[in-house]
Symmetry: C2
Subunit: 338 residues, 2 copies
């Protein structure tokens, strides 16, 4: 079988099985591990609470394209996509390490612009850029590792329970719309283009949103990186639950209606790379979150018991929309909705 | 200026300057940082002692080639090259995260063989494989991040002092000889080929060598990844010192003499990727190390005051060999010795 047939998530499942079978759980540090492989970040107990670590890669011509991505944007985004993973566990990011591989023909000034973008976002989110390495390659590859710390109670993908409400920060689909705007000839005015461009190239997870959700008592969260239905699906699978989403509750950004009126619902449900938090909580906890956090998240549905991972999207009349759970799998491209 | 003109280490210097200039040192976590950017691993104070983290990347057709590298070897090596970085700081490795990017056309069984190689080395060195991510790319990219823990006293590149003896574990140059054996048509018998192949594809840092050196009181260390002279040069520069190496004290593996008699000295001094520890220590500390550790390291020279980073190699008659400090810079290839 080929990797493209099994898919990203199938491969991760097989890896988890291998770790078990080959006895890696006998490693002394295993006993302190708090989540199995497959959550947003690895987490283990320490004397000060919980240590978190996550890593994510951006590969030229796969994850980004220099025809529309500036070097400074690349630096910003490479860190941003890891911040949302630390936030999704309820942690505060601390130290970043950068593995950079690139052809020697690039200009030093471009590479320094990339590091400036990294330092800019590190400064904003209180992160120390602590090290890394640089080597040669034919395409630019940026791999960022980010550590974080959390208290004893972290958020995980597996803690959603039937009766929880589901909420999301930001505007799902706006980053995917930004990518479409950047790569199409759609006529878009300058001010709107900036908003769309920033949504895709300059994602900004709500500052401290992770630790603040955890402090409110939220137990289950994920970042919106693969697409709303896909990410919610990860929560539902890990939590052995289903979910229902109400179309009329979805937050629709005005630019999605203005420029993507034919496809805005698909963008919201399946567009990836928003890097905001999606979470579930008991109604009273949700009330506390909505009071505490501005801008407040949109409550878009609820967790139900049912076939694990199954998500139903209902329109205003209670009619089931024919959306499958789809989003970003690095090997299985979304095939659209039926 | 192009990256290839500035070189890997020039770029790291510029990055360090940028971090300073752009105010990243104001991040709350900065105050706990124990080493500046550019050591083997990032290190910061924690309640339990010192936290360490390092990250390193292997890119297909740059760092390895599938014509001579098996998938299982690739998995082993991707972790090994990080273990030696944690050991170089005196730490014990704990958790590994793997960022894998590869084309979907690869066989799942090959990728699982790679993970088996990772798990094998993780089991041997007491490391938990804790997470990571998988995504698409045109070439295989494996980035491993490894955490570690150390006591209050870590080893650094900057702690060498004039009067310290210099010692190295293993057989410098054997990995580079292995690469030559794998990629040339040199006639080598099967048993010897296995030794050479393993030196390059299956590097095995001495188990617990880092924490044991630190326990003996060693303060300055680095792993031999760029080549003996280059790595010793990093220590000398960071420590503002010079060094003298005695040719007759260099450990020469019998296969270097047997198959590489014309070039064995060049291989020993400039060949990279051995992933063993090179360190300096006061004579009495060195005695303690030699008594405590088997196989013992070879004492090859001493740290002297002088032009920072300058290394002199003397032959048995005290004649200066015309070796420049050379080794692996990802953008500046060694130009050979004059």
């Amino acid at each position: 079988m080929r990797v493209s047939e099994l898919g990203e998530f199938g491969l991760i499942d097989k890896l988890a099985g291998l770790i078990d079978k080959k006895g890696n759980k006998k490693a002394g540090s295993w006993q302190n591990l708090l989540v199995p492989i497959g959550d947003d970040a690895a987490a283990w107990k320490s004397r000060s609470g919980t240590e978190l670590i996550t890593t994510d890669i951006l590969v030229e011509d796969i994850h980004f394209d220099f025809s529309y991505t500036g070097w400074r944007d690349l630096g910003w985004k490479s860190i941003a996509i890891n911040i949302s993973d630390i936030y999704a566990m309820g942690g505060k990011p601390q130290y970043a390490l950068v593995s950079l591989a690139l052809p020697g023909s690039h200009r030093v000034s471009d590479v320094l612009a990339m590091y400036e973008g990294m330092i800019e976002i590190c400064n904003k989110y209180g992160i120390t850029l602590a090290g890394g390495n640089i080597s040669a390659s034919k395409k630019v590859v940026v791999n960022v590792t980010l550590t974080g710390v959390a208290g004893k109670d972290i958020m995980t993908r597996s803690a959603a329970r039937p009766g929880d409400l589901i909420a999301v920060f930001g505007h799902p689909g706006l980053s995917a719309a930004g990518l479409k705007a950047l790569t199409s000839r759609k006529k878009i005015n300058e001010a709107d283009m900036k908003v769309l461009r920033d949504a895709h190239l300059h994602p900004a997870p709500g500052l401290d949103s992770g630790p603040r959700l955890a402090a409110c008592g939220v137990k289950a969260a994920i970042d919106t990186s693969d697409g709303l239905l896909s990410d919610l699906g990860h929560i539902c699978e890990a939590s052995c639950a289903g979910a229902v989403i109400y179309e009329q509750n979805l937050p629709v950004h005005r630019l999605l209606r203005k420029y993507f009126n034919q496809e805005y619902l698909e963008l919201i449900l399946t567009g990836g790379e928003d890097y905001q938090l999606l979470f579930t909580a008991l109604p009273e906890t949700m009330d506390a979150v909505i009071k505490a956090m501005k801008p407040a998240p949109a409550v878009i549905g609820e967790i139900i018991s049912g076939q694990p991972g199954t998500i139903t999207v209902l329109d205003a009349r209670g009619k089931k929309l024919a959306f499958n759970r789809q989003g970003w799998d690095h090997y299985k491209r979304p095939s659209g909705h039926g």
